[in-house]
Subunit: 300 residues, 4 copies
């Protein structure tokens, strides 16, 4: 690496949540330099947010179209765009950057329809660019460790995959109180047709398939809404059948008091089991059948 | 209490499992004195088992019929009979003691069919005797505490009930190796039509209803068998819908390596959540919504 | 075993604490039958307590002298006496029963002076009777497992022994409020010269030596009293040097809020470490050096 | 903040440990830009390390003297120097940068003698510059929370402070095998006169005083060396007496198998207790006396 990648961002201005997380991750990796962005659909707010981040003011844009046009004209144009807007804007933003020859890092869920997702995949293929979705939990060292152990056959043939993602922040009708994150995430127009499933169930589903190496072949789901006036599901339970015959269940909820970010994965095979919890991410419990469980740590 | 209750036992001889647990529980309570039993269908084995227990040799019987007849003729006859045989013998044994005027403590599952269970209930009603099923996990102090907190409204209207019971002892085909417990528990003739559901799912189901005070109104279940040659389910996942609209899931498995006796209950309402695990039974986690979770201990 | 041992008890009447624990343990083991006792120095209270326990009223005595005399005259006299009084009465009671030919189970601490303890040992030797002290924590299956692993050399040469016993029930001056347990335990006349050290430090000390197989050769201690008006230490920290050169520390406290019965032992050698905690007694953490720690469970 | 602070670094080149941690922390904060450094006492290695970090090659220096001279001549000279060398070079490096008008961030322990530390404090005072020591564990949100709760009196008068820092990486003689970190840290010439005490005991000591707000008035220590051939202590136990009468103990060890980075603090007062562990840093256990303990989480 002779230079850092030049990163642009769509979304992530003042008051946003996930954009700042993307920026921290990019800095920690030390492979990116944030140089441009449309941080808000409001031009002044976009400029102010860019100034907070010490960007060149000429590179804080008011729209994706303006950003694509202006960056394309620069010799030091961005290499990659991070799309960190509400869900309904993922498809349009990602597509424009792919077509402009940028790699794209898109927050989850990729899009709000399967058709839109397929369309982005086609765009990325045509453009020969990377289209990455930030299923960030799959990056933990011990999640990678679990995936490798399973691929190496340490659990034997897999039989069971239990995954859950429990939160509590939507236990009350925050959206009715105007809380920004709650408002767009429970709004079908901005969030897409799924609530808890799209917001966090997608993480759980990805993690289960990513670590197990299995694909879900069939599922039965019960989505429910428990807070009065809410327009999308705030809880979902699913029965899973994997292509190899393994069984499992998935639970995603945002109304379980006492759960902050409770993503938990348990996988069992004929020869052993693995258990991992996001809230204690640096340990992985491995139980070879018939032996005492061991706790694998991240190491130094 | 001016004397201890005189306890008889059916099952629980040498090589059995749950009978010894009943006896330990009875001694801890100090309200019972074991005085008689049919400890095995083999007369000699029954006598030997009775001798191990320092019983009067005349009260170690060879059959339920003999025991009922002989005990009925004694002035110091048993007050209560504990039925701790394999499942298929619960109904016949319990019924005979009820009809003889004894109270009955029966291990779970009560019977192998709903009709048999109803018949026992009728017998108990007619005889005006207690018919108890040992859903022993409901006796933990903190399970009682949870039930009382919910009944008092501390969680508000209940929305979610997640219950699971995970074991690993049937990960391999122990029954093929002649292991006694595995053999009868995976044998449809002795165990009844359900495997993991009947053996441990019944505990999970009871605990969920007992603590929540809710009744399951609908369920969707996926029972599966993962060990070659096994005749009954060794894993079950269920979606639950409770009569009040709450949702939940139940998972019972005997093939999850690293889980010894993993009965776990989590209940969430509009005002808070409770979490309890059998493997750390003396603590109950209570999360009032919006406040730090607290850990309630059994106390001195 | 052709019959249960006949057990007598000194102390443990209504309002007492540890006597009931002895009785529960004796029933669980099923090797003892409680038949006699001096449950209180008050004759009526002793009789009432014996009645609670369904004893033959003639065997509820008013004094140790009476009990020794009466029991000695019986064919079915007690085999063993459990001494569960406040500490200052251990020596006199135990001695009389030993001299009468009974085995003795004495609660900890054995006596309040070293001279008295040596005297009891001599009495037991002369009488050829067992003199047992109930360091009950050493009976946990996983404490025994730890001891065996160390004796077998699995940790290599031992280097470090950290032991602690933290409670919180004396955080306030309960003795000033007349609480019975606090009153005698903080009273130099009844408890002996040590407070927290004698009450729980003795458990920690025993556990450390018992499991490690090492003997403490030197120690430096800082005993302190933090509750106004209290006459004995409620906190103690010690530096330990073992005969083999290992180092360690011991902490005993009864004023650490949030600690109910926090007895914890950690032992480290050249080849690995072991950690055990009384509040999660059925697990033992074993860390072979350079490998992931494993959690040994009690088993079925 | 209109620009990032320009950061220089002494130490932290290829093969080093803590320098990379400083750089990650600086990037996460996003208040610093690394622009210069002496990354090694070997000129080529310093240049190569600087190149790895994408620095301007003219600003990778071969010595502190060269760096001070060259940076002082630049308009865009560094604002602050991070000293991340072995301990014996802290004093000389820090002093030169302070005298050149730079702020200094120095890794712990500040120096190897009290006199040198006092000298640096004087230098900083004279230069009117910040001299910071990276007691990084004090920066965790829940450590700050604990400090604030104590300062606000939520625990009442403090009585007990238990702190420990247990590692296992020096269980064997890594230094004899030439492992770089072990070699200098166990070498009295480079590490200073203290081994485990200087390397990690200093963190534990600082954390105890920082959070409690108390000062240690007296201590008794037992330092020991358990690995053959090692020149410095690899284990230390201390009794602590605080100025207000509180008692405590400190344990620092690098030979306790199964402990990776086990920094743990427990503080108890008349009204409650707090417990925090570095290996689960996002939770703080608060036990108000007489109430169930609660677990305070970091929050969103």
């Amino acid at each position: 690496m002779s230079r850092r990648l030049r990163l642009g961002m769509v979304g992530g201005g003042r008051g946003a949540f996930i954009g700042a997380v993307h920026r921290m991750a990019a800095r920690l990796d030390d492979r990116y330099e944030l140089v441009a962005g449309v941080f808000s659909s409001d031009a002044q707010r976009s400029r102010d947010s860019g100034a907070d981040l010490l960007l060149d003011p000429r590179r804080s844009y008011a729209s994706v179209d303006e950003m694509v046009r202006a960056e394309s004209a620069r010799a030091d144009r961005i290499d990659v765009a991070a799309i960190v807007t509400p869900n309904h804007l993922h498809h349009v933003g990602a597509k424009k950057f792919l077509e402009a020859g940028c790699h794209v890092i898109c927050d989850k869920p990729l899009t709000t329809t399967v058709a839109d997702a397929s369309d982005l995949v086609s765009s990325a293929d045509r453009a020969q660019r990377v289209l990455a979705v930030t299923y960030n939990y799959s990056g933990y060292p011990l999640v990678r460790q679990a995936k490798e152990m399973i691929a190496a056959g340490e659990l034997g043939e897999l039989r069971l995959v239990q995954v859950e993602y429990a939160q509590d922040w939507l236990t009350t009708a925050l959206e009715a109180a105007g809380q920004k994150q709650a408002s767009w995430r429970t709004d079908p127009q901005q969030s897409g047709v799924a609530g808890s499933v799209g917001d966090i169930g997608t993480h759980a589903f990805h993690l289960a398939e990513f670590v197990s190496g299995l694909r879900v072949a069939q599922l039965a789901a019960d989505l429910s809404t428990h807070v009065a006036g809410r327009k999308l599901d705030d809880n979902a339970q699913m029965l899973l059948r994997f292509a190899n015959g393994a069984r499992g269940s998935l639970w995603a909820t945002q109304i379980a008091p006492g759960n902050e970010n409770g993503l938990r994965l348990r996988i069992y095979g004929a020869k052993g089991g693995l258990e991992w919890s996001q809230e204690e991410p640096n340990h992985l419990r491995h139980a070879p059948y018939g032996q005492p469980p061991r706790v694998i740590a991240r190491g130094g």
